[in-house]
């Protein structure tokens, strides 16, 4: 069968696409990606940070980007906290908070490709911390209440609704 009509239809659609009105401005994928892949301690784009706090669409897209490059991620805890001790699985990893002063975050299962960063999301609150290298198969991070990010991470991880990304 002749391809002419098909090509004309495709050209027609291409012309129409070129004429479609420009979208309402929003934070671009590239800026969100740069934020999702940033190295610990590097400067952040404040416009992105603001959008992530106020714009659910930007947050959704950001978390999609984060999930795609995470070694493991979990949006909900499989098992709820028992109060004093929290355990949850994030992909192949077991994540545990050992209460004490300070509380300790222990991450096991990091044999082949240990994560270097943890990012937690609860509602529109997010926190990101670099992880130390594993020692004898376990990554241990002190959730020191003197460090605001660490304190926030501990608080958020105790909530089963908290999403966890291991990067």
């Amino acid at each position: 069968m002749s391809d002419e009509a098909r090509l004309l239809a495709e050209l027609h659609a291409a012309r129409a696409l070129m004429r479609a009105p420009p979208p309402t401005p929003r934070v671009g994928h590239a800026a969100l990606w740069a934020h999702a892949t940033r190295a610990g301690g590097s400067p952040v784009d404040l416009a992105v940070v603001r959008a992530l706090r106020t714009d659910p669409d930007a947050t959704r897209r950001y978390r999609t980007l984060l999930a795609a490059q995470a070694i493991a991620h979990a949006t909900l805890a499989a098992a709820a906290s028992d109060g004093a001790l929290l355990r949850r699985r994030v992909g192949p990893f077991a994540l545990e908070i050992l209460e004490g002063t300070p509380p300790l975050l222990i991450l096991r299962g990091a044999d082949t490709r240990p994560p270097r960063t943890i990012e937690a999301w609860r509602d529109d609150e997010a926190v990101r911390l670099d992880l130390p290298p594993p020692v004898e198969g376990a990554i241990v991070l002190a959730l020191d209440s003197a460090v605001p990010e660490a304190e926030a991470l501990g608080r958020m991880l105790r909530d089963p609704r908290c999403a966890v990304f291991l990067l």
């Binding site: 002419e4 004309l8 239809a9 012309r15 129409a16 009105p21 994928h29 590239a30 892949t37």
Partner: protein, 465 residues
């Protein structure tokens, strides 16, 4: 303009264009690749993209697919110059662009690479990131083995991916059917007249499809622009391999890009839609009138009769369609279909002339605001500018009383004003030429009988309900 894509596709496409600030030509190329208007093989750009990513992986040694995603999403690699600056001198580059080790025949230039990366962003971010994780996983595999086999495998995956996307978001069947009908109607002819457009619309109305007259005219615009390109396509469709008919492809590619890149109505429509805030150089109603006259670019210059028909009876027909959608409001269907409310060609011609005169006046005012140093000018020019100054004081429109704001407003609108004024002047000349050949009143009455008959017959069911 109606046309074969859904909102999701428009948003995905626009996000890439805006994010990378792509040139018009690159946007046009991407639009064609997305809709599939590439011959002889519409998967060729994906083959090139997969090979370019493999070559970049060979050159940059990514840790995993993430690093390739970073390259594809980087708006700093949106131009040939940027790509050349970043990658020339790398292991898999020659002086003209990228090559892929182990795939002797494959090569892309720097401008090609910039386009392919835009396509990469599109396939990654399509469906508002719906498949981002999947495509990133494919890039992980490529990063692990960036060779010719890996590239070929990725190319197949991307081709299937984009093909599924087209099935979901580019409903082309109706457009294709209409073009097939149009080709059948013309019976192999490439040239057509205003009478052909009307007769084809009548036939479509009688067949029960009931497309808008404006919609049908839009199809003729595409046909006029594309018909000479599709000649000889039959021989191409049998292309056995991706490399076959290279010469043909280059020729077609160049011609097809011209077609969409040189498509100026987008600019006109966009200019009118995004008219800068500020002094009321054009009111909302004037912009709507202009958009209505100029929507069938280039027919407002070349086919004034079809332009008048679309403006007059096309509007009647969209009124009927709107009324049917709403179910209520305004005149009833039978009354509308009789075209008693249709605007006469004489009135439309007069309105176009008034718009052209208004725009010419605004252009003179723009010149007066801009040219403040007049000593070296000729007597005649100075007099004209002085007259424009005097005229400016007579304009009663919002924002015209504040000189500083007015100067800034005109400066912001200058490009748009020049272009719209030029096209409106061409419309006015085309309409004046038509009026000299055919008395507008007689022509309008004859057309009204034709449109009233077609519309009344087509909407008889609803009119009686």
């Amino acid at each position: 303009m109606t046309g074969g894509y859904d909102e999701r596709c428009a948003a995905d496409f626009a996000a890439v264009g805006e994010g990378r600030d792509l040139s018009r030509a690159d946007r046009a190329w991407l639009a064609r690749v997305v809709t599939g208007a590439v011959r002889p093989n519409r998967d060729r750009p994906l083959w090139d993209l997969a090979h370019a990513l493999a070559a970049l992986a060979q050159a940059t040694g990514p840790r995993d697919g993430r690093d390739l995603v970073t390259l594809a999403l980087d708006p700093g690699l949106a131009t040939a110059e940027a790509c050349a600056a970043r990658f020339s001198g790398s292991a898999t580059a020659d002086t003209r662009g990228l090559v892929l080790e182990g795939e002797a025949g494959w090569h892309t230039g720097w401008s090609g690479l910039a386009r392919l990366l835009a396509l990469g962003e599109f396939v990654l971010t399509a469906e508002d990131l719906g498949s981002f994780g999947t495509v990133t996983g494919w890039l992980d595999e490529l990063a692990a083995a960036p060779d010719a086999d890996g590239a070929a495998f990725l190319a197949k995956r991307l081709a299937r991916h984009l093909s599924a996307y087209r099935n979901a978001h580019l409903p082309l069947a109706r457009e294709e059917r209409r073009f097939r009908a149009l080709l059948g109607f013309l019976g192999g002819r490439r040239a057509f007249s205003d009478a052909d457009i009307l007769a084809f619309w009548q036939a479509e109305m009688a067949s029960g499809e009931r497309p808008g007259f404006r919609t049908v005219a839009e199809h003729f615009v595409t046909f006029e622009a594309g018909a000479h390109l599709v000649d000889g396509l039959d021989g191409l469709s049998s292309a056995a391999s991706l490399d076959a008919h290279q010469g043909w492809e280059d020729r077609l590619d160049a011609a097809l890009s011209d077609l969409t890149a040189a498509e100026p109505t987008a600019t006109l429509a966009a200019l009118l839609a995004d008219w800068p805030e500020g002094p009321k150089i054009l009111t909302g109603a004037e912009r709507e009138d202009l958009a209505d006259f100029l929507r069938l670019e280039p027919f407002h210059r070349t086919r004034p009769l079809t332009t008048l028909r679309a403006a007059s009876f096309g509007r009647v027909q969209s009124g009927i369609a709107n009324r049917l959608r709403r179910g209520t409001g305004g005149a009833d269907i039978a009354e509308r279909a009789a075209c008693t409310e249709a605007e006469s060609y004489a009135a439309l011609t007069e309105r176009a002339a008034a718009l052209a005169a208004h725009l010419a006046r605004m252009l003179r005012i723009a010149a007066a605001l801009r040219i403040l140093e007049r000593d070296g000018l000729s007597e005649k020019t100075r007099a004209a500018l002085d007259a424009a100054e005097a005229d400016l004081r007579r304009v009663r429109r919002a924002g015209f009383e504040d000189r500083a704001g007015l100067t800034a407003g005109f400066a912001a609108a200058e490009t748009a004003l020049l272009r719209v004024a030029e096209e409106t002047a061409r419309l006015e000349r085309a309409l004046a030429g038509l009026a000299r050949q055919h008395p507008p009143d007689a022509g309008f009455e004859a057309d009204r009988a034709v449109f009233a008959e077609a519309l009344s017959a087509a909407y008889a069911g609803e009119a009686a309900a």
